[in-house]
């Protein structure tokens, strides 16, 4: 099915926004979305299924007397259905209650240029091309180690487009592509099963390396065999990409949202200008990063995306805002209004949260550690306390570091602590920056993490 054209999407959104004003809304905004996704899935060692998903829709936000209403539909072919949705949005606003802090939808601003967000080659991939990529990944995994079983994974290619039109003159269209391959594995040997290991590669341009993913997923699982318990004591911990992403997602990434700060839910409230992390920690939210997974010209309410400094050499510099929270503080939005497609109103989320890398290779980083733990992934990060930053998780898979070398795999080790303490105890950074969801970061070393072993 062919993608909708820019003019088609924009005219749908314009029609909806205008119709809302006619129906009595003081302000209106329409967000149109299209996602075309083709995937090939690996299940239990073989390529066994493939799917094609077409998801289109329109979400309409209306404001009546400072009260906000919202409605959406996935039927775009019929103007009457859109009008009905618009009427519902207006009705919802009337049923809602006025919000005295509502100060209007964003106004028009020029959109920046972004690079590396769209690749025509991804749109042109056939299911056969994806099957080929998946089998390269699968074979690479199987060849690497016989004890490893690829349990699930696949290759997926998406085309996404979005348009925002509002009654303040904002009108924008942007489109992009994403391609991803991933493989989850376990290794088995003499009755021992490893925890699930995982590797992936996601890019905006057609340059994924399925062979690398297959090899790495296999190596990781094989090296997780023969796991032993470790002692309970404060330990130097290397947090690899996934582990860092999981720990930050439920803590720091919440605490920097202006909404959480304004609502007394953030441990960073009132700390702008203060030291909140070690001197070597610098973090930006970069909505314009070249080839960033969450790079777009504008955010979910049509505000230009931008690069925002969050922590500079350990000092907290600011938070991320949408237009509502920004106006409350008489500031400018940082372009962080995120939309989950057409199904919801915008909420604040980081775009590409970039943890500035260091100079050491990961081998050098590990080489300097006499005794420590290398943690690839953690289990249970979502049970962290988002308000305080406290976490208590299982490190899995993880490896013991002894005299600068990986000694053995570790099982059942828990890590407990507070993410804001941990950020103050960051003592080294590697140079292996990579993109994982909203995070772009290298491996980091954290001193004195409480490890509960047995």
């Amino acid at each position: 099915m062919a993608a909708l054209k820019e003019e088609e999407v924009l005219s749908l959104a314009e029609f909806a926004a205008k119709s809302a004003l006619k129906k009595g809304a003081d302000e209106a905004e329409a967000f149109a979305y299209e996602g075309l996704t083709t995937t090939v899935a690996i299940e239990r060692g073989q390529i066994a299924k493939s799917s094609r998903i077409v998801d289109r829709g329109l979400g309409i936000r209306t404001i009546v007397n400072k009260a906000v209403g919202f409605s959406y539909t996935n039927i775009l072919t019929d103007k009457a259905a859109i009008e009905k949705t618009v009427s519902k949005a207006v009705k919802s606003a009337r049923a809602s209650k006025p919000d005295k802090d509502w100060q209007g939808l964003p106004s028009k601003k020029p959109f920046p240029e972004v690079k590396g967000g769209f690749d025509k080659a991804i749109c042109e991939l056939s299911p056969d091309d994806l099957v080929k990529a998946a089998s390269v990944m699968l074979e690479a995994c199987e060849k690497t180690d016989k004890r490893v079983f690829p349990i699930e994974g696949g290759v997926g290619a998406s085309y996404l487009s979005r348009a925002v039109v509002n009654s303040n003159g904002v009108a924008g269209f942007d489109h992009g592509t994403i391609i991803e391959c991933s493989l989850a594995t376990v290794a088995q040997e003499s009755g021992e099963v490893t925890p699930v290991c995982f590797e992936f590669n996601a890019e905006r341009l057609y340059k994924i390396d399925p062979e690398w993913v297959g090899v790495e997923a296999a190596k990781q699982a094989a090296s997780a065999l023969k796991a032993k318990r470790v002692e309970t004591k404060p330990t130097k911990v290397v947090l690899a990409h996934f582990a860092l992403q999981q720990l930050l997602y439920y803590t720091l990434m919440e605490a920097i949202k202006a909404d959480c700060v304004q609502r007394n839910q953030s441990a960073l409230q009132g700390k702008v200008g203060e030291k909140v992390a070690s001197e070597i920690v610098t973090i930006h939210d970069d909505g314009l990063m070249n080839e960033g997974l969450r790079t777009w010209k504008f955010d979910g309410e049509g505000v230009p995306q931008q690069k925002t400094v969050i922590i500079e050499k350990g000092t907290l510099r600011g938070f991320i805002y949408d237009s509502y929270t920004a106006k409350k503080e008489r500031k400018e939005s940082t372009g962080n209004a995120f939309r989950a497609g057409y199904l919801s109103t915008p909420r604040i989320e980081a775009t590409n949260l970039r943890f500035a890398p260091g100079k050491k290779t990961p081998e050098e980083l590990v080489g300097e550690i006499d005794e420590g733990l290398l943690v690839y992934s953690v289990q249970g990060a979502h049970s962290s306390n988002p308000a305080s930053g406290e976490f208590s998780v299982v490190a899995t898979p993880a490896w013991k570091i002894k005299n600068g070398k990986i000694a053995h795999a570790v099982k059942g080790a828990m890590l407990a602590g507070n993410i804001f303490e941990a950020l103050k105890n960051v003592s080294a950074l590697a140079n292996n920056e990579r993109k994982i969801g909203q995070l772009v970061a290298p491996w980091i070393v954290v001193e004195n993490v409480k490890v509960i072993g047995k």
Partner: protein, 461 residues
């Protein structure tokens, strides 16, 4: 609609040689509200209409989803699905086979006392604001409150090439309340969910006062809590924690797709994996419970499935494909979140069966240990490593519940821990929740109070 979808499936079989084909059409309306403190962020209503088509061609699955009921779009989608399956089958080692069923024809209706689609949105707004007000008024140290509300009403059609035609009403009502409290530098967090497939009348039982006070009280009580000691201790787990343990730590391992992927249960069928007092069910038939339904998304009737009987694994949760592999009947656990995704094996209402202990008897022999009453998140791994975060816990000192502890979590190996369950209470509670496995499913989990003579406790900072 029925004729159109039958013709589309017919085409898959006749023109593309599909061995099996199914269509799921959904016609759903949702209402959503978010309240932050005492403000409505937005009142939201939406429509999600669409069709999912799944075919088995040359031993591989093909799937296509479209947000449309138009004949032209559906014909295009079925041909896409068949072509996708064909492409996937190129590298197939073991062709997929499924358990075939008899043709079923049924119409399932819901009869709520209060149908959410007939409750004015103004009333829903009022109820959610009342919850938020209760939370915020409870104590000056409560600093924020977020209330989310969702209802989903509509119908789902299921047709397959075996001649099955099922028309099923869908009804879900859900709400989640989050609160934070703060005193000096101490931040606490508390969460509770309400969920039902019966109707909006759930709020007559789970009243705004009851839910609001429970959430607020916990957030405030945690302010004076201490951090637990790290290490292994005896513990009494409350029904809410037993539920998440049974669901996360055991249940996922017993989802047959994950069992086949190498979960620790793979070679344990028929074997003892828990102490004698442990019996576990996954039950899709409990009336009004958040995880209940009549037919799953492969057209298989839901049932009460016995997973563990007196410590022995006797069953797994199956779809048509895994049931064929194990040579058993599907258990009705195939669920799809909506028309955008394909059905996968999911839990329903999962619980440990009660026995005969009172709470006092469970606690009396514990010199020092913990009472973990309510969870905050949990996760398991195929190797049986589990983690359950605790949002409400207390010390047990000389058999008595003592001071509260904050930010604890428990961990260990599922099967080792199930062997350490030495006494099971006679009470019983079922708690609604949402489970993530790539897609979200509405579920319940629960059980009685349970004693574990040893579990690893991860302390706070």
């Amino acid at each position: 609609m029925r004729d159109l979808l039958s013709r589309v499936l017919e085409e898959a079989v006749q023109k593309f040689g599909a061995e099996y084909a199914e269509a799921r059409a959904q016609n759903i309306s949702k209402t959503m509200l978010t309240v932050k403190e005492e403000k409505i962020e937005a009142a939201k209503e939406g429509i999600e209409n669409g069709v999912a088509l799944r075919v088995l061609v040359s031993g591989a699955w093909g799937f296509a989803s479209v947000g449309s009921f138009e004949a032209e779009m559906l014909r295009d989608a079925i041909s896409q699905a068949c072509k996708m399956a064909k492409a996937a089958s190129e590298k197939l080692k073991n062709p997929i086979k499924i358990v075939r069923g008899k043709a079923i024809e049924d119409r399932v209706t819901v009869k709520p006392k209060k149908n959410p689609s007939e409750v004015p949105i103004e009333d829903k707004v009022k109820t959610m604001l009342e919850i938020a007000k209760t939370v915020l008024k409870f104590d000056g140290r409560v600093k924020s409150c977020t209330v989310d509300y969702l209802d989903l009403v509509g119908t789902s059609l299921f047709l397959n090439s075996e001649g099955t035609y099922i028309e099923q009403d869908k009804l879900y009502v859900w709400s989640r309340v989050l609160a934070t409290a703060r005193e000096n530098d101490i931040y606490t967090f508390s969460r509770e969910e309400v969920g039902s497939t019966a109707g909006y009348e759930i709020f007559d039982v789970e009243t705004p006062q009851k839910v609001g006070e429970m959430v607020a009280k916990r957030a405030v009580n945690q302010l004076k809590a201490k951090t637990p000691k790290g290490g292994t201790f005896p513990a009494v787990l409350g029904p809410n924690v037993v539920g998440v343990f049974v669901h996360e730590a055991f249940g996922h391992l017993a989802e047959a797709d994950l069992t086949l992927s190498g979960s620790v249960l793979m070679d344990k069928l028929g074997e003892k994996v828990a102490s004698d007092v442990v019996t576990i069910y996954d039950d899709g038939t409990i009336e009004g419970a958040f995880g209940s339904y009549k037919y799953d998304d492969e057209g298989i009737p839901a049932q009460k499935t016995l997973l563990v009987k007196d410590g022995v694994v006797v069953g797994l949760m199956h779809n048509r494909e895994t049931a064929q592999k194990f040579n058993v009947q599907p258990t009705g656990n195939a669920r799809a979140e909506d028309f955008r995704v394909e059905p996968i094996i999911r839990m329903r209402n999962t619980f440990m069966a009660p026995r005969d202990y009172t709470f006092e008897e469970l606690a009396e022999d514990i010199k020092f240990g913990y009472y973990f009453k309510s969870f905050r998140g949990g996760q398991a791994n195929l190797d049986g490593t589990f983690q359950v975060g605790i949002q409400e816990g207390y010390e047990i000192v000389k058999g008595e519940v003592g001071e509260p502890v904050r930010n604890a979590s428990i961990s260990g190996n599922t099967l080792e821990t199930l062997h350490k369950v030495d006494a099971v209470g006679k009470d019983f509670e079922l708690w609604p929740g949402r489970c993530g496995k790539g897609q979200t499913a509405f579920v319940c989990d629960g059980g009685p109070h349970v004693r574990v003579w040893e579990v690893l406790v991860g302390g706070g900072a």
